[in-house]
Amino acid sequence: MIVIGVFTVIPMLMTIWISLNKWSMFTSITDMTFVGLDNYTRLLGDASRMQAITNTGIYVGLSVLITIPLALLIALLLYFPKLKGKGVVRTLLFATYVIPTIAIVIIWGNIYSPGYGPLSALVSAIGLTPPGWLSDPQWALVSLVIFNVWQMLGYYVILLIAGLTQINEELYEAARIDGAGRIRQTWSITIPLLRPSLIFVVLMTFVNSIQVFDPIYLLTQGGPANSTNVVGFEIQRSAFQYGMAGESSALAVSLFLMIVAVGGVLGIIMKGRKR
């Protein structure tokens, strides 16, 4: 508990304090000077950092929009029908979660590589011109979203299956007697009753994708043309490469506030539905 206090709460307070100061990471902390909200107004005027915020929004939004329906469909497939081998598939899906991100970066960097990679070969095979994936400003961020979905999908599927096991079998029995078909049952029983799990998974997807750093640092360094610069990457780069701790912390506080806002809203929805 002390460890959590010292290494979570104090740093958070320090982040807020540093964000109100001007401090180069390469000098002593005693050289810090108070500048009030200067870092925040500078942030608003900095096109590159503002774009990082927009990119993060797109990245998070797309991650949630792709992950949730996909994870739900897979969870339904792996829970309801009696199929041989579905346990194995579940384990395989989850396996991507335990592989180091850098290894996944290497795999997908190769899959995406124009010409040499299988993805471009597949796209060409069906007669289309493959995009440049990570080197194309229009595709780079989307490519990173696909990467994120692939890595995390299994984890969310497991959480949703766990939620499905909590739904009383008898409800389906009753619905079947009333003549409700599969799709009808899914809409009026499964999804409403799965809501707590669904909201939890949305929250986890949100929190996990808003802090994305590793794949950006390793694959694109924010490029091409700033198209994959995200807040997490910009925080680390501003501080550890440029030494601008104040600006970096202002961005970190902004990220924190976004999480509190969205987390709060989701939390209220979750609590409200439980009652």
């Binding site: 508990m1 460890v3 959590i4 290494f7 979570t8 740093p11 958070m12 320090m14 982040t15 540093i18 902390i29 897979i74 497939l77 029908p81 199929l83 384990t91 395989l92 899906l93 989850f94 396996a95 991507t96 335990v98 592989i99 180091p100 991100t101 850098i102 290894a103 290497i106 795999i107 997908w108 190769n110 899959i111 590589s113 010409g115 040499y116 299988p118 070969a121 060409s124 692939w150 497991i158 959480l159 299956i161 766990a162 939620g163 909590q166 799990s197 929250l203 802090q211 750093f213 390793l218 925080i235 680390q236 501080a239 550890f240 701790a245 970190a252 506080v253 990220l255 999480i259 987390g263």
Partner: protein, 282 residues
């Protein structure tokens, strides 16, 4: 007409479901298959356009090159020390804290507990700058201990342990206390044996987390001799810009992933159930 259509649909349902299942299985399998075969291709075959879908002459040479080009084995040891240390420490702190939260009354207990849970949603990137400053001002930057320090306790672990310990009947603990067992003995002799699934889950979770974490060691470590595997792999990645030697990098990715994959596969039944339980109980 409609009856025969519905029997037809029912007869088709199973095969369709199996096709879907196979497609879902391909999602994780294809990239992993691609990793394995690419790591076994010769440089010449590897840089072919379009790519081949099966290595014509599988070779372990990229693996050998990866192992010798960078100090992989040394890094493996570093990762074992860091991930192992974090795992043991998190187990001890989580069981003790979880026990206190589950079985002891004190003022402000629930507020404190939910406060700790809230930190679960605080991304490390938000506090990276002060954390770096704190650890280096203790003189611990560029040491194993410096990497380990923020990982000694963990909100998810405390949460998981509290949920599992709550399910242990109070009578059992009362009985042990009657027999004159001290608190530490109660935890060690009576609580821990009942927590096996939770312990396995948390151990695997923490080991994987610490093994795979990239941001924190990247920020706090300078000397390559202390690099965990993920940083060494990054080094290997930046050495080889030329495409035909990317097979060496891919071989490195296989090596770096094996330990966590093995730990996961050995424990997957218990681990997956534990992760699922953590979601339901939350």
């Amino acid at each position: 007409m409609s009856a025969s259509a519905s029997t037809l649909r029912r007869r088709l349902a199973k095969p369709v479901q199996y096709v879907l299942l196979a497609l879902v299985a391909l999602i994780p399998l294809f990239p992993l298959y691609w990793l394995l075969i690419s790591a076994m291709k010769t440089p010449a075959e590897f840089s072919q356009i379009p790519p081949t879908w099966f290595p014509s002459t599988p070779t372990l040479e990229p693996t050998v090159t990866a192992l010798t080009a960078v100090p992989f084995l040394q890094s493996m040891m570093n990762s074992v020390i860091i991930a192992g240390g974090a795992t043991i420490s998190v187990l001890v702190t989580s069981i003790l804290a979880g026990y206190v939260f589950a079985k002891h009354q004190f003022p402000g207990r629930d507020a404190l507990f939910w406060g700790i849970i809230a930190t679960m949603f605080l991304p490390p990137i938000v506090t990276i700058v002060p954390l770096y400053y704190l650890v280096s001002s203790m003189g611990l930057s560029d040491t194993y201990l410096g990497v380990l320090l923020p990982w000694l306790a963990n909100a998810f672990g405390i949460f998981l342990m509290r949920q599992f310990i709550q399910d242990i009947p109070d009578e059992l603990i009362e009985a042990a206390r009657m027999d004159g067992a001290g608190e530490f003995r109660i935890v060690w002799q009576f609580v821990v044996p009942l927590l096996k699934p939770a312990i396995v889950t948390l151990a695997v979770f923490m080991f994987v987390y610490a093994w795979n974490n990239f941001l924190w060691p990247l920020s706090i470590l300078k000397s390559e001799a202390l690099y965990p595997v993920v940083l060494t792999l990054n080094r290997l990645m930046s050495y080889t810009m030329s495409f035909e030697y990317q097979n060496v990098v891919l071989a490195g990715a296989v090596i770096a992933s094996l330990p966590t994959l093995l730990v996961f596969l050995v424990t997957q039944r218990v681990f997956v159930a534990g992760i699922a339980a953590s979601g339901v109980k939350g």
